[in-house]
Symmetry: C2
Subunit: 315 residues, 2 copies
């Protein structure tokens, strides 16, 4: 038996501040047409795919950033994408900024990905769990990484959904650096994780990491795939956007941790792989048979504490 999901990682090149959502959706539709030619079941777009990566700028009044957020999905600008995907029978995963008003009348801002099935059903909207960067303007940086100013962290954590004939999970950008993200999904039987990202090549707090961005990107997704026996689809917004060079290297990983396919450019590019979800069992049924081999009774620190605790009583 085999359960093939043909997935397309729809990498996007830069989106400038002045680009309209309509212009971006036109680029997305072009990649969707390629996906149809490659018989894709599922197309994955990057994080914050409808706008430029706006957390690179500080705004004294956060409400001046409202135009970077969606308030409904689909909406007028994205409806053509929803329509065409449904017509083609292709599902998709789309990252964007969501601004909503909760029951208490409070404005909430999230960094989300929505998963849509081949028949147009919205399966789930995932909120980013690990919000990197900083909360306040740091004008000495060449550019800001103010995600902690513009987004709240998800209160919900990681889910896995029955879709595309398998168990599908989502994570966003920085979530991929944390083994906890993959494991939370692994413990829900995940078979394919969809992950959009925007990763500047320059990391201001420690520029010694700049030359390692591609290495680290591959390392975390490859190990997360292997250690949980799952496919991982990593999709970049790459290239130099508003003067900030960002990592491309969109990559589809097998449950073995191997690279199945990888982008060859830093611009708009569809990266395709046929993923047999039954491959997952080679790992989840052997070496990573969690029920047989995990030892949660000695993992208490993982959930009992957030940061480092040094027991000074130990030698």
């Amino acid at each position: 038996m085999s359960r093939i999901v043909t997935v397309g990682a729809a990498q996007l090149g830069p989106i400038n501040r002045s680009d309209s959502r309509e212009a971006v959706v036109t680029r997305m539709l072009a990649l969707l047409a390629q996906a149809a030619e490659s018989a894709c079941d599922l197309v994955v777009y990057p994080e914050l795919a409808l706008t430029t990566f706006f957390p690179r700028w500080f705004l004294n009044d956060i409400n001046e950033a409202d135009h970077f957020y969606e308030t409904a999905m689909p909406n007028e600008a994205t409806q053509p994408l929803f329509d065409e995907a449904r017509r083609l029978g292709i599902g998709f995963c789309l990252g964007y900024a969501l601004r909503e008003t909760d029951a208490a009348g409070q404005v909430r801002r999230w960094n989300v990905q929505t998963l849509v099935e081949r028949d147009g059903t919205q399966v789930a909207t995932f909120k980013k769990v690990h919000i990197p960067g900083h909360e306040s303007n740091e004008p000495d940086r060449p550019f800001q990484h103010l995600e902690r100013y513009y987004f709240e962290p998800s209160p919900d954590g990681f889910g896995v959904w029955n879709a595309f004939g398998g168990r599908i999970g989502m994570m966003i950008c920085n979530d991929r650096r944390w083994p906890e993200s993959y494991r939370e999904m692994g413990l829900q039987g995940v078979e394919m994780i969809l992950c959009g990202y925007n990763t500047p090549l320059h990391y201001a707090p420690d520029p010694s990491q700049d030359r390692l961005q591609g290495f680290h990107n591959t390392l975390v997704m490859s190990s997360g795939a292997y250690q949980n026996g799952t496919f991982v689809v990593g999709v970049a917004k790459g290239g130099t956007e508003e003067g900030v060079p960002s990592l491309a290297e969109s990559t589809i990983f097998a449950p073995s941790g191997e690279v199945l396919a990888r982008a060859k450019t830093t611009g708009d590019e569809l990266v395709v792989a046929q993923c047999d979800l039954d491959w997952c069992r080679s790992y989840t049924g052997t070496l990573f048979d969690f029920d047989r081999y995990r030892r949660p009774e000695v993992y208490s620190r993982l959930t009992a504490q957030r940061g480092v605790v040094i027991d000074e009583a130990s030698p």
Copy 2:
């Protein structure tokens, strides 16, 4: 400031069933002498370094395996190693099988590593947490992997100790495949993890993994190092032992996840790297500042369940 620990990964080639402990200790002393020439502070020997990897054989009566276990450390065979290391002012980490009788008169069998400081002080004895393989004879295999017959899993989990001017942790072989191992130590401020291993190239439950043994070995230690901002010292018993080819590739990893040094042979070989423990802060003080960025409030599955749980109520 820098805090340099010069570490030697003392890879061993095969140890046959007929080899005496004295013969093995003679080989260890040769590597120790090389370590002195390289000004090592610390030498790390592999898992079960004093004997052949005996879990490859089934014995109906487990007591017939008693001669593979130590009952005290140091003992007559290893005393020359302890003496010479102390004379040279070099610390070491030694893996072996331990058989002891507990307060209730029960025989307990452990797969352990002992850490010894430069002055000869025994810092700690770590018991392996994740016991791989199987419990019962499986005669259809070309060789057995009966660790679950010969060893109990540690009830204590992972510790980190003040030694060698830093925070030192230990793990053994299969422990290195689990991100939980590194994270439990990361949450205790680990700066260097010492890990001996025996890894047959053939994995009977899924031979498709055989060609990937080296890739997976590097992948898990590299990602564990990066995601916790720690050095990792992986030390093999390599080569073909009693007809079973095993992975060598002893490797020292930096907190960046990069390979600092790697074995070039499958036999007795000392692999040396100067490790500046202050490098760890480049990661633990930025991207992996756990207290700032981790989200244990949404990691509840990590400790609440051992195996996969699928919530059928979800879509």
